[in-house]
Amino acid sequence: MNHLIDILDLSVEEISELIAVANDIMANPEKYQEKCRYKKLATLFFEPSTRTRLSFEAAMMELGGNVLGFSDAASSSSSKGESVSDTVSVVSGYADIIAMRHPKEGAPLVAAMKSEVPIINAGDGGHNHPTQTLADLLTIYREKGDLNNLTIGFCGDLKFGRTVHSLIAAMSRYKNIKFVLISPNELKLPSYVKNDHIKEKNIPYVQTESLDDVIGDLDILYMTRVQKERFFNEEDYLRLKDSYILTPEKLKNAKSDLSILHPLPRVNEISTLVDEDPRACYFRQTKNGKYMRMALILKLLEVM
């Protein structure tokens, strides 16, 4: 049984295969519109997430399949105290594939241990969100034509940002990669992520508090939100918050072919004035997410 719980469950070759399928779906959508006819996707969302759930549902619908599920724990049996294992044992009798979001870290893995159908982790607390990483990888590939030979900057909250951790893990497997880690001291990348995916693999990296100092070096800029509640005191927050807001002025020193990514939702960390800049990829990125989810569903259902 195939599942996707962690982005590293997929080999580099499998990711290349998914990217190729996603690109083909974009070019020839009619080829795929009946591929999942009579198949059902269950979206088990134990916490609300409009964007990811709609992306999964749109993906299945565009493959000709059907969708069932719930969008928050209150409308599921978990509100009556049912375990994840029991919920999944029941639902795997109704659906051909399950996408699960759960506030508890590791819940999709528990589901995968019980399920009779493939499980896709659609986000488990602050832990993993592999289909977001697939969207990021397709975006980088489509914007740059390659996943090798890139200087990738991560800016903002690198401590709690699960999408940052997963993308670093995924990108660390490609050749000639350099990471630039831009964050306030309070929100630095956790040492285990740095050790496991950067230092152990001897990947060059720079750690800095200043986006201005490094923006000119970057091929990719992955923005995340700096949240006030993450700071120990308001003084530090006020001192640092503006340095992590991307504006057209800050982009003057950036490369002309920089690609700006953001997992969304954004609050104020990217000025809306940047949206018109051709280097802003974040809305294309969400669309790419749907195509990667389509490719993933096809792969896990073995109907490619």
Partner: protein
């Protein structure tokens, strides 16, 4: 101080100084009816000081517990007064239901009837991580 040799049983030797009681508790040796000797702060050429546990009965013990609590431990199986088998215990690759995850956001904190599993990471500084949430043991 003298502790008699055992005829049939197990000697757990080269326990890191001060770890014997933890092993005693984790192996539930308190529930045994046979004699159990705990020797603490025993002088050792190799280790300076070490702890030893002698169990005067042939029982099955969870070797993973020993490797996790005190790596480089040795276990000698004694039969008819002679050591018939000696095992050097390395860090086990996987721990099942030996320790619990301390991350309150981990699914193991709420899901009933779930095995608590930790795996030893690869690399230069191996550590045990919860298979569900990756939190360090």
């Amino acid at each position: 101080m003298h502790v008699d040799s055992i005829t049939n049983g197990i000697v757990i030797d080269h326990i890191t100084e001060g770890k014997a009681m933890q092993i005693y508790d984790m192996l539930s040796l308190g529930s045994l009816s046979c004699p159990v000797a705990i020797l603490k702060n025993v002088p050792s050429k190799k280790m300076g000081r070490k702890d030893i546990i002698k169990i005067d009965s042939s029982i099955d013990i969870n070797l993973d517990v020993l490797g996790f609590v005190s790596p480089n431990i040795t276990v000698a199986i004694v039969r008819d007064g002679k050591i018939c088998e000696k095992k050097h215990i390395d860090l086990p690759k996987k721990l099942t239901d030996i320790i619990k995850c301390k991350n309150p956001r981990c699914i193991t904190s709420t899901e009933q009837d779930i095995h608590h599993i930790f795996k030893l990471s690869e690399g230069n500084n191996p550590v045990y991580r919860c298979i569900y949430c990756d939190t360090k043991a």
